[in-house]
């Protein structure tokens, strides 16, 4: 009995030993790559933003000028996101907002969009989606220019009934065989614009203290 207990203890100690070494290696790698990862993620985001807003149109550090947006049904988000504010000579030029279309053909479609103070869209891009390759994935700028039809649109010029695909009597083109995807994107953009209308003034006020460490 004693012998069994001892060998069990030895085995446990052995396992703990390996776990500690593993944890040490992981922590070291994490700390060594953390800054590079944060920089890469930020660079990728900035590159995306530059497709929505020409970098010459603003002169502030858009990555630091942040307004934290609480999770909101109108944005489809279930956790807080960060809106980036673009300014020129201190005047707001646009806000870069994240939104989620919850009802894509295969799950959520993550969107990012730039909205000017007058409520018009600088542009929309799909950040992440699982739509069927070759069918619904034309919402992705890498596959098709469809998403550019949002450029310059606003709810002041186009009323609710226009924010639909042509098949439903709206103004947006779609591709045969895949209407669920554009419907979801259009609905999400329209709702995000409504959210913007309701929160316009507060969205352009930056957080008092810039949040530490960019959220992924």
């Amino acid at each position: 009995m004693k012998r069994i207990a001892r060998s069990s203890l030895q085995t446990a100690v052995n396992l703990v030993f390996f776990a500690i070494i593993g944890t040490a290696i992981l922590s070291a790698t994490y700390y060594l790559t953390r800054d590079t990862i944060a920089a890469t993620v930020e660079k990728a985001k900035l590159k995306l933003v530059s497709q929505l807003l020409p970098p010459s149109s603003y002169d502030n550090d858009i990555m630091q000028d942040i307004h934290t947006v609480a999770a909101d049904e109108m944005l489809g988000t279930d956790e807080a996101t960060q809106a980036h504010i673009a300014r020129r000579d201190g005047q707001p030029v646009a806000v870069v907002l994240e939104a989620v279309a919850p009802d894509g053909y295969s799950g959520k479609i993550a969107l990012i969009m730039a909205i000017h103070p007058d409520g018009s869209l600088g542009g929309v891009r799909v950040v992440n989606h699982n739509e069927t390759p070759g069918l619904g994935d034309y919402i992705d700028i890498a596959k098709h220019d469809w998403i550019k039809t949002f450029d310059g649109r606003s709810r002041t010029l186009f009323k609710d009934e226009m924010w639909k695909v042509r098949k439903d009597g709206g103004m947006f083109d779609y591709m045969a065989g895949a209407t669920v995807t554009p419907r979801a994107v259009i609905k999400a953009v329209n709702r995000a614009l409504q959210y913007f209308e309701a929160h316009r003034d507060e969205l352009f006020i930056a957080d008092a203290q810039p949040a530490k460490g960019a959220r992924k």
Partner: protein
């Protein structure tokens, strides 16, 4: 490690015991990510790297690991290595990291990695183990490359699409339009295309083996039949 040993290990990994075609282990990434050549080869190489490192790590510690807890320890080692690779990809190959997404962490659950740690590295010295891991990984990469290339040509009519994720914007020009003005064949890109493609490749391998065994009909053909999948 003698030259014959090395030859044996290489032959086993690349052909006779090929993880993708004979052992049929690690099919989850094989089927999911092999929709383009670039994705397939990238995940294949990431897996190869993990397998080489994991076998090389398991081999030297094998005598210190009590038999009862060898599986948890091996899984722990593999998980640590995969996470390290994942951090590195996130930091230095961000575009690819986004594309391969969940399949990088899933290398942990790829049973071929554990299978080699358990069946080879836990019984052999460091060098042959590392070499075995590498050859098994390359065997898998080769299958992934053929399958990815096939699916991309049939599905999209191109080769090397997405190469810009590895080498930056200028690499977009490297994409080869194999069939110009091709409208795409969705089945090849979706998961069923992977099953059909893999089936055809396995059939081709068995046909080659059979033909080879007939040529040398003087020797018994027992070796050429694929051994049963193990896990």
């Amino acid at each position: 490690m003698t030259l014959t040993e090395m030859k044996d290990i290489a032959y086993n990994g690349l052909w006779k015991q090929n993880p993708g075609l004979v052992q049929l282990l690690g099919l989850c990434p094989l089927l999911a990510v092999s929709n383009t050549l670039v994705n397939a080869v990238s995940l294949g190489l990431a897996t190869t790297l993990v397998m080489t490192l994991s076998s090389a790590t398991v081999a030297p510690v094998r005598s210190y690991v009590p038999n009862e807890i060898r599986i948890p320890v091996f899984v722990l080692i593999i998980a640590v290595l995969v996470t390290v690779v994942q951090y590195l990809m996130n930091a230095y190959l961000y575009g690819l990291y986004i594309v391969l997404g969940i399949f990088v962490p899933l290398i942990v659950t790829n049973c071929i990695v554990l299978a080699r740690a358990e069946s080879f590295a836990s019984k052999n010295p460091v060098l042959p183990s590392a070499f075995d891991g590498m050859m098994m990984g390359l065997g898998l990469t080769a299958v992934l490359a053929v399958l990815g290339g096939l699916r991309e040509i049939v599905g999209k009519g191109t080769l090397l699409s997405g190469i810009d994720l590895l080498f930056g914007e200028q690499a977009k020009a490297w994409v080869i339009p194999v069939i110009p003005d091709y409208h795409g064949f969705l089945l090849a890109i979706l998961p069923p295309g992977a099953f059909i493609g893999l089936g055809l490749i396995i059939a081709a391998k068995n046909w080659l083996d059979l033909r080879a065994s007939k040529k040398v009909s003087s020797t018994p053909a027992s070796e050429t039949l694929p051994e049963a999948a193990q896990g």
